[in-house]
């Protein structure tokens, strides 16, 4: 869509520059109010009671002792367990009851006093046992479900054309979102109207959830999320049992209730990234073309949830076949986690790429380029691989296995990524300009911590010739209108067009008020540098403040909506990693990571770069540390905390370089997911390059490294 007055500017004033996060001061001072920080007069604290068993029938629940405990105001079951249909708990952490008391300490005591009688049932938590049929059949219709197979070309011919064939089994582990702020809600009723503060990625979706589950009109529900301590997909699904119990307890107790989950509950019951494994056989021709790719894959997304991922990932392979099994286990259900499916698909694909490259003695980058889809604006891997290789010093990379003396081995690895993202409507925005010069940009989106509030101000300021600090973004409240939930890197691309359209429409109205005073045609005016003036003639103009004095008592108001052509979808990127491996201890240190990443038009550079830094760290955690460890016999999670569920700290962080590739002509795309897809594979390949041993399973723990090296040498 060319030549609209709403087109992104050729010479932006603020877009794409380093602008300090607008809410930085509120966050660094502790003034920012997260759901966890909302304290209401007379507020009660609530606690959930959850199944300690991975699979059991609830025989009875006795709430009476709890209701006699000090400070307790009310206790409720999450559902009716009396019938035979709905009386099973399906995972450790499945919700049974909830209690509200005057203090959090009393609520904890009361929750402990609730007596639940369970008839413990056989469970399946070990994926291999489900697959080989040695686990009890727990799920109606079987524990293992076939996914849809995919096929192209002629596999037999493909293997016939192969000079070399590689076979291996690859896998990634279940990890949990582990947001710093747990899932939590504060509910306050006023008659049949419900006020909700909730840590959510979608305030409007949350409003619908509450209204439909509680049987009240959506118009009676107001949902607020001004600040939230991370979501990563786990707060994008629904308000959850805990959200609804908070509302029900508040109703029953006739008092505001706060219900924040604790760390253990976060790990058990609020989502995870499913496991992903594959047995792959692939053939390669002597000149480095992958001729055949045959994969059987599987994974668990928990109790009744699927675990699919793209395989092969990105590379173009003419002859391929893939079958997939979703394994249901008695564990908490998966939820989308930052780039759902892609980190798993990346790892399961990229490791065998280097194995194949070595078989035919081709450099991993040259090998990847031979097997890429054609270059396009949304598929720039060839360029990024070559540019990144030069920047990273890829020519200093040695062949597989660091031959230098001593226990510290060094290696490099590379991998690529893609993500759809992109924008869509409806995504309205509302702009007001008042006679005091104040500007409000109002829309019903929410800021997960990505910097949405700052993005709103940057786009508005750019359109109005102001500084972002002069804009007041109003977001995070369903009173501000309808907007989509934030997930899948869609927020920036969905909301940005409407913001710019609303701002330009409001500016047009302001120009109409100013033009007569200047004796010029409104169409000749522009907003720049805090002034409204004739383009290229500052003498015919006035300051923003003077211009706004002509507005009168009723502010200018204008609405904008998402427009095709101002956003697009699909990114590409490449990442390089360098590691050292101590082959005596098995400890991997990531020393350098280079990110080459596009995201269309860069709106807010500082926050865009931060997405890349964060994506790399998230993926480094996936590669080296995170693992939901279940006891093989009891099915209990052994590390539902933050000391045994390992996460990187400051000393684990490599030097990270970010190269944002600009594609302003494509409009806004979104950047939340892409940078977290491929670091893990690049790290694993760097470990392979360092040690000469192929690591086919994550996480790369010291024990695994040492074990693999022992096998590799044996």
């Amino acid at each position: 869509m060319a030549n609209s007055e709403f087109d992104w500017p050729a010479k932006p004033s603020v877009l794409g520059t380093h602008i300090n996060r607008l809410d930085g001061p509120d966050k660094v001072t502790g003034r920012a109010k997260y759901t966890f920080d909302i304290n209401r007069p007379g507020m009660l604290y609530a606690r959930m009671v959850r199944s300690p068993h991975p699979h059991a029938r609830v025989v009875s629940v006795d709430l009476s002792a709890a209701t006699r405990m000090p400070g307790v105001r009310t206790a409720l079951l999450t559902r009716d367990f009396s019938g035979s249909q709905n009386n099973r708990v399906m995972f450790q952490g499945d919700e049974v009851a909830a209690v509200a008391a005057d203090t959090e300490e009393h609520a904890i005591d009361a929750a402990r006093s609730i007596r639940v009688e369970y008839d413990v049932l056989p469970h399946v938590t070990v994926v291999e046992k489900a697959l080989d049929g040695t686990a009890p059949v727990v799920f109606t219709g079987g524990n293992v479900r076939d996914g849809r197979p995919a096929q192209a070309g002629d596999l037999t011919a493909g293997f016939g054309a192969a000079a070399k064939v590689v076979e291996g089994t690859y896998s990634t582990q279940v990890i949990t979102h582990n947001c710093m702020e747990s899932h939590g809600t504060v509910c306050e009723w006023n008659g049949d109207r419900l006020m909700v503060w909730i840590s959510t990625q979608g305030i409007n979706a949350a409003r619908e959830n509450f209204a439909s589950a509680l049987g009240i009109p959506q118009a009676n529900v107001r949902v607020i999320c001004q600040y939230m301590g991370g979501g990563f997909g786990s707060k994008a699904m629904s308000v959850g049992a805990e959200g609804l119990m908070c509302a029900k307890l508040a109703k029953a107790a006739n008092a505001p209730v706060k219900l924040m989950l604790d760390r253990k509950e976060e790990h058990l019951a609020t989502g995870n990234r499913p496991s992903a494994a594959s047995r792959i056989k692939a053939g390669v021709s002597a000149d480095g073309i992958i001729t055949a790719f045959d994969a059987q894959s599987w994974g668990t997304g928990g109790a009744g949830a699927t675990a699919d991922f793209p395989l092969p990932y990105i590379y173009q392979i003419a002859n391929r076949h893939r079958s997939h099994k979703n394994v249901f286990t008695n564990t908490g259900q998966q939820r989308p986690m930052r780039a759902p499916g892609h980190p798993q698909g990346s790892f399961n694909t990229e490791i065998i790429m280097d194995e194949l490259a070595d078989q035919v003695n081709i450099d991993p980058i040259a090998f990847r380029i031979k097997n890429l889809p054609p270059e396009a604006a949304n598929a720039m891997w060839r360029s990024y691989l070559l540019e990144g290789a030069a920047e990273f010093g890829w020519n200093k990379r040695h062949a597989t296995g660091d031959k230098t003396a001593g226990p510290i081995k060094t290696g490099m690895g590379v991998s690529i990524n893609t993500w759809g993202g992109g924008g869509r409507g409806p995504s309205p925005a509302h702009c007001e300009i008042a006679s005091d010069g104040g500007v409000i940009m109002r829309l019903g989106t929410q800021d997960l911590g990505t910097g949405t509030r700052t993005l709103v101000a940057v786009i508005t300021a750019d359109a109005l010739g102001l500084r972002p600090s002069q804009i007041r973004p109003e977001i995070g409240d369903t009173l501000y209108g309808v907007s989509a939930l934030s997930g899948g890197s869609t927020t920036a691309a969905s909301i940005s067009p409407g913001i710019r359209v609303a701002a330009i429409k409001a500016l047009d109205a302001l120009k109409e008020k100013v033009a007569p005073a200047l004796g010029v045609d409104a169409a000749s005016l522009v907003a720049a540098g805090g002034r409204i003036q004739v383009e290229n003639d500052p003498s015919k103009g006035m300051t923003w403040a003077d211009a706004c004095k002509r507005i009168g008592p009723q502010p200018i108001a204008a609405d904008g909506e998402w427009r095709a052509g101002m956003s697009s979808s699909t990114t590409s990127g490449a990442q390089f990693a360098e590691v050292t491996v101590d082959i005596e201890t098995g400890i991997v240190k990531v020393t350098r990571v280079l990110v080459v990443q596009d995201c269309g038009l860069v709106v807010s550079r500082l926050t865009a770069e931060s997405q890349c830094y964060g994506g790399v760290v998230g993926s480094l955690n996936f590669a080296l540390f995170e693992d939901r460890i279940l006891d093989r016999n009891t099915g209990q999670m052994l590390n539902p905390n933050m000391e045994w569920y390992l996460l990187a700290g400051m000393s684990d962080i490599p030097r990270i370089e970010v190269r944002l590739k600009e594609q302003p002509e494509r409009g806004v795309i979104g950047l939340g997911e892409p940078p977290t897809v491929s670091t893990a594979a690049a790290i694993a390949l760097a470990v392979r390059n360092a040690t000469g041993v192929t690591m086919r399973s994550l996480p790369l723990t010291p024990a695994r490294i040492l074990g693999a090296m022992r096998l590799g040498k044996g």
Binding site: N20, R21, D23, G24, P25, K27, V28, T29, G30, R31, A32, K33, Y34, F36, D37, N39, Y45, T103, E104, E105, N178, C179, M180, E181, Y227, M228, G229, G230, F232, D262, R263, L448, G449, T450, G451, L606, T607, E609, S610, Y613, G614, G615, V616, V617, G618, N621, N641, M642, E643, L646, L647, A648, G649, M650, S651, I653, R655, I656
Partner: protein, 204 residues
């Protein structure tokens, strides 16, 4: 008191590293503790039920009636509406609750309020003077050393304590000094940049 080992000399283990390395810290403490307790005179019992607790927080006296088991973090957050410091893990692993007590960082989620009576407690709520940000807070804003911001108060307090002890830390000292804090959004690179850029913090 759950003192964080924020020694920045790079030689001593901090708690996270120690846990990772040995996996035995909890065991060692539980075995040693009863022996030491028995040797001391038994302190007067307080509670159960609410008891008066007087705290000095950010230079202000706060009088509370709370159960002895209430943590410093919860006492300030739920009884004094000082909600700046956060709770991430509730067991001294993530550092979101970091406060400074008599010049040393503590995990306030694992410190009883009753333990820190008579001590100077500093929370993030009291760090800025009005609209004037502390130099560490300003550096975090300038370097975008935060995303969701939930871990930020803890990182800020850990950084302030580090710089008050050592106004010119080496890169290694900064890393060791902040290893007791976790950021899930992954802003470490920029936190490191921010703390490296801070000049002129007075030795505490």
């Amino acid at each position: 008191m759950a003192t964080k080992d924020d020694s920045s000399d790079g030689l001593r283990f901090n708690r996270r590293n120690f846990l990772r390395t040995t996996g035995l810290v909890g065991l060692a403490e539980t075995i040693a503790a009863p022996v030491e307790l028995a040797a001391e005179s038994t302190p007067a019992a307080v509670g159960p039920g609410d008891v008066p607790v007087r705290l000095n927080v950010n230079g202000r006296q706060i009088d509370l009636m709370i159960e002895p088991r209430v943590t410093l973090l919860d006492a300030l957050r739920t009884r004094a509406n000082l909600t700046g410091d956060k709770r991430g893990c509730d067991r001294g692993a993530c550092g979101a609750c970091t406060m400074i007590v008599d010049g040393r960082t503590v995990y306030s989620c694992s410190t009883l309020a009753i333990e820190v009576q008579g001590k100077q407690i500093r929370s993030v709520d009291g760090l800025a003077s009005g609209d004037q940000l502390h130099p560490v807070q300003q550096a975090f804003c300038d370097k975008d050393a935060l995303m969701c911001g939930f871990c930020t108060p803890g990182f800020i307090m850990a950084s302030v304590a580090l710089l008050e002890k050592n106004p010119n830390p080496t890169p290694e000292q900064i890393k060791k000094g902040l290893d007791g804090n976790i950021c899930r959004c992954g802003t470490f690179s920029r936190i490191f940049e921010a703390v490296s850029s801070v000049k002129g913090v007075q030795r505490g």
